[in-house]
């Protein structure tokens, strides 16, 4: 359960102060699938960073369950990211020198899991996204859709409660986009995740239970 209360985020750009989020308050219950839409520079990514414990608000509070993310230190935020939150990025963000299986294993490295368990869990996660035969492939040897599947496996292998996806289909063609969204929806449904998807794509947003729109830092519900 996310609880954002009067969240404001400002950045300094030289002498100018940019307000990315203006007094945002929103509750997201566990297990909900939410789409966040809005124009470029409207505050989507900043909101995702607040939700993903990657940054702290300038003002207001962000709570995930019992943890107040706006007050925790870097170390504790890192632990929450390592255990509770899975990320999927538009550009996949795989490590080019590691195989698919090793990329997935990177998500288990901070958890102190043994090498053999890491390997087996990574293999299972890749099998769950349909890449059981591609364990030893490097990212460059995989298609865009396959790379995003590896990224999804990496996000889910640690069994988080929240999955944050930033334009997960932004770099993919329509067919692949639908495959990926079906995969995400299936995982969300099967695992009871809270799935928050930031997207430009109305077709993607239309799949969500709830749609939020953010423009110039102001968040609104879409009916």
């Amino acid at each position: 359960m996310y609880e954002l209360t009067s969240v404001t985020k400002t950045y300094s750009q030289g002498k100018r102060t940019v307000t990315a989020l203006k007094n945002v308050s929103v509750s997201i219950p566990d297990g909900q699938m939410v789409a966040i839409q809005g124009p470029t520079g409207g505050g989507k990514s900043t909101l995702l960073q607040m939700l993903g414990a990657l940054d702290r608000p300038t003002d207001g509070t962000v709570e995930l369950g019992t943890a107040n993310l706006s007050k925790l230190g870097d170390g504790k935020l890192g632990k929450i990211r390592a255990t509770e939150i899975g990320f999927v990025f538009q550009g996949f963000n795989l490590i080019p020198t590691l195989t698919a299986q090793e990329n997935v294993e990177t998500a288990l490295a901070p958890l102190g899991i043994s090498a053999s368990e890491r390997k087996s869990r990574a293999a299972e996660a890749l099998a769950a996204v349909g890449l059981g035969e591609r364990l030893t492939h490097l990212p460059a040897e995989l298609s865009g859709g396959q790379q995003q599947r590896v990224a999804i496996a990496r996000a889910l292998v640690k069994e988080p409660t929240v999955l944050l996806a930033d334009e997960p289909t932004g770099n993919l063609d329509e067919d692949t986009r639908d495959d990926i969204m079906e995969l995400l929806e299936g995982l969300w449904r099967d695992r009871g995740l809270t799935l928050i998807v930031v997207t430009h794509d109305t077709a993607v947003a239309a799949r969500a239970q709830r749609r939020l729109h953010i423009k110039q830092g102001v968040l609104k519900e879409v009916a």
């Binding site: 993903g52 940054d55 890192g78 963000n93 490590i95 020198t97 294993e105 490295a109 901070p110």
Partner: protein
């Protein structure tokens, strides 16, 4: 994960790994070679010095020669050999005369032997030995009987008739012939072999001086001198008109070098014959440890304010020739070159690591986003740099050892000249021109093959430097990676 990731990164970014490793390898190879050559040159210097000063001598004590005062003829003035009317033996109109004189070597100042007791009481002195550097000059010749050549008959007062030729002398016609022979003599305590000139020699025949030889007329000869003087064990050598039995021959440890003196005799005998009772010219001191040398030097200088106290490093400056040039080259050019290349290699490693971190901003941002701690990322970056450094170090050691092998195969010859103690420590002074002591100053000129040693410490230094280079680059790169905020790292690529 650490090792897998490290291995994949180094293998996946071969070009960067190779450039950093090659830079490090070149620097480390150069450091190894310069260090080893430096050690080789130092060994060569030590060899030359040992042939003069003896093994284990850390410090020598002498006194600087002072200029003779007005009216003081001193010991350094022209040597005179005075023959009276009754000197020599006359046979067939020819008188043979011979005189031998034992004096302090030119430029040497003698001082009271009690200085040895003073030196031995200094803290951290493990052994000390006193010597007396002397020069023996013998003058011998044949002159015609004075009665034969006198232009006026002393008995009758008549002048010889015109055309009457003088008789006698070596040519039977009133001529004369003289020969002058000079060699160096070193008086030393026969009981003390631990320190001093004889500690560095190899006995080739007979025996060396022993404690029981004190007060006896026995001598040990430098084998080169013995060869030129056609002397052997069992023969006698005349020093100051006194016959000494030759009991042994010695040679310098290095085959090419001469020993410090031509003849070695017991100190007390040398003092008596030269009239320098209770006088010595040099004291050889061995310190307890190399770290105590400076303290021992200072204490001796305080206890004996008139003395000149030199350490081995001071003595090293007395080594001349191409060995000295090599030493200067290694110390100056070699040292600076290796430092510059090392600094360049470190800089290359640091710049490549930083540029690598910058290029991998998204990678590290992603790892932070999925929960990697700063420490884990720093370790990863530092580990990669460290391994690059170690690869460079390993290649550098191989290249360095190959370089040393090549130098040893080529084995360049260095010429070294080490002045005798009198020149090295005080410079010629006090002695006037003339005399016959010139031969004494030509000690220990040697051709030494430069042999470059491979020591464990050099390898250790190379490994240490490669680890240091890798760690410095890694820590700087790691610090840069850890200072990336995940949100900014991800935003920078959005």
């Amino acid at each position: 994960m650490f090792i897998t990731y490290l291995r994949r990164e180094l293998a996946g970014r071969r070009k960067q790994t190779a450039i950093v490793a090659i830079g490090m390898a070149l620097a480390i190879a150069l450091v190894i070679i310069v260090n080893a050559v430096s050690a080789g040159v130092q060994n060569a210097q030590a060899t030359v010095l040992e042939s003069v000063y003896g093994v284990g001598t850390d410090i020598t004590v002498s006194q600087e020669a002072t200029a003779p005062t007005a009216g003081d003829e001193g010991t350094g003035g022209p040597q005179r050999f005075d023959f009276g009317a009754d000197d020599g033996a006359t046979t067939d109109g020819t008188t043979s005369v011979s005189q031998s004189r034992l004096e302090a070597e030119r430029g040497t100042t003698t001082f009271d032997a009690s200085a040895l007791d003073t030196v031995t009481t200094v803290d951290n002195v493990s052994a000390a030995a006193a010597t007396l550097s002397l020069s023996n000059t013998s003058f011998s010749g044949e002159v015609p009987d004075m009665a034969e050549t006198d232009s006026t008959d002393s008995a009758t007062g008549t002048v010889p008739a015109a055309g009457e030729r003088p008789a006698g002398g070596p040519d039977g016609a009133g001529g004369s012939a003289f020969s002058v022979d000079s060699f160096t003599v070193l008086g030393l305590d026969p009981a003390d072999e631990a320190v001093g000139p004889l500690s560095a020699v190899t006995l080739t025949e007979g025996r060396t001086l022993a404690a029981a030889d004190a007060g006896t007329n026995v001598a040990v000869l430098d084998s080169s001198y013995a060869t030129t003087a056609s002397l052997a064990v069992g023969d006698t050598v005349t020093i100051a008109d006194t016959d000494f039995e030759i009991v042994g021959l010695v040679t310098a440890t290095t085959a090419d070098a001469a020993t410090a003196s031509n003849v070695y005799i017991p100190l007390d005998v040398a003092q008596t014959l030269s009239g320098l009772t209770d006088q010595v010219s040099d004291i050889y001191v061995q310190a307890d440890s190399s770290t105590a040398i400076d303290q021992v030097q200072t204490d001796i200088e305080t206890a004996l304010p008139d003395s000149t106290v030199n350490t081995q490093s001071d003595l090293a400056s007395s080594v001349s020739g191409s060995l000295s040039s090599a030493s200067d080259l290694v110390k100056n050019l070699g040292l600076w070159l290796s430092l510059i290349v090392l600094a360049a290699a470190f800089l290359i490693a640091i710049l490549f690591t930083i540029s690598g971190v910058t290029r991998r901003t998204r990678e590290f941002g992603t790892l932070k986003a999925i929960g990697w701690s700063n420490g884990k990322i720093v370790r990863q970056v530092a580990g990669e740099s460290l391994v690059q450094g170690l690869i460079g170090g390993a290649v550098g050691i191989v290249v360095g050892l190959a370089g040393i092998l090549v130098i040893n195969l080529v084995a360049p010859t260095l010429t070294a000249g080490a002045a005798t103690s009198t020149e090295a420590l005080g410079g010629p002074g006090g002695g006037g021109p003339g005399g016959f002591g010139e031969a004494a100053t030509a000690a220990a000129t040697s051709d030494i093959l430069l042999s470059v040693p491979v020591t464990f410490s050099v390898i250790l230094l190379a490994v240490g430097l490669s680890v240091l280079g890798g760690l410095i680059a890694g820590m700087i790169g790691g610090w840069r990676a850890s200072s990336l905020r995940p949100a900014e790292a991800l935003r920078s690529i959005a």
